[in-house]
Symmetry: C2
Subunit: 145 residues, 2 copies
């Protein structure tokens, strides 16, 4: 399969940025900006994960991850604890303040998804999910070449 | 249409970051890092665009755009010229150095797309294109609410 215009990649970029921009706008009143919601959502599923694991899970480089976690810590959304098994590593935990805001974050992302998918039928949705999954698996393989 | 798990959004994020990370790795030898290839590809289509237009086209905020353009200018890939119609604005042009590297950038992005779509049939590709287009149009509407 070939695409001379990089259409899929371009749309993925555009959708990614629209989503990020919507999340920023809706969550800014809570002091959650840029990609910070991604870190909180990841921690909500894996509370106590190491910075390295978060970085790997999100495919966001270590420096950007470290900066985002630091900012979230400064704003009282996470706390970092030195890993007893590896003194150089940190485990990151959500604070109560973050736990309290999680429903708002999930609601925001669900609203965006519902709006964006409002003209997409159940059948199309399932096909899309399958295709994106297939592509993500391939992309994962390339990333580890 | 509803999705309880934000699966589509998550995959879009993951695919976006895998693509960016692949581009970074392949183009780093040329001094093109992070999202810089996006700016160069945009300028290749609209040489002489204003920073504001580039920012709007890519849905990347003005500060990030200004920083990226500055970095590209420092590396000799673009030159900025004060807009004669609006002295506060810059028009951005690709240099010969950038023109020379464009085929490599397009080849890189095309390779990624070919690899990621290698298990996707022509029919599935067309369906995917249609769905992503539909979603991007909706997302555009939400972005301008």
């Amino acid at each position: 399969m070939n695409s001379s215009d990089n259409l899929i990649g371009k749309w993925i970029s555009v959708l990614y940025r629209y989503r990020k921009s919507y999340a920023s706008k809706m969550l800014e009143p809570y002091g959650i900006v840029g990609c910070q919601y991604l870190f909180l959502m990841t921690l909500f599923k894996q509370d106590g994960a190491s910075q390295e694991k978060i970085s790997d899970n999100l495919k966001i480089d270590k420096t950007t991850t470290a900066k985002a976690i630091k900012k979230l810590e400064d704003n009282g959304y996470v706390k970092r604890v030195v890993d007893s098994a590896d003194k150089r590593a940190y485990k990151v935990f959500l604070t109560q303040k973050a736990q309290d805001i999680m429903p708002k974050i999930y609601e925001t992302m669900k609203n965006w998804e519902s709006m964006v998918l409002s003209d997409v039928s159940e059948e199309e949705y399932l096909a899309l999910e399958k295709l994106l999954n297939k592509m993500a698996e391939k992309a994962y393989g390339i990333g580890n070449l």
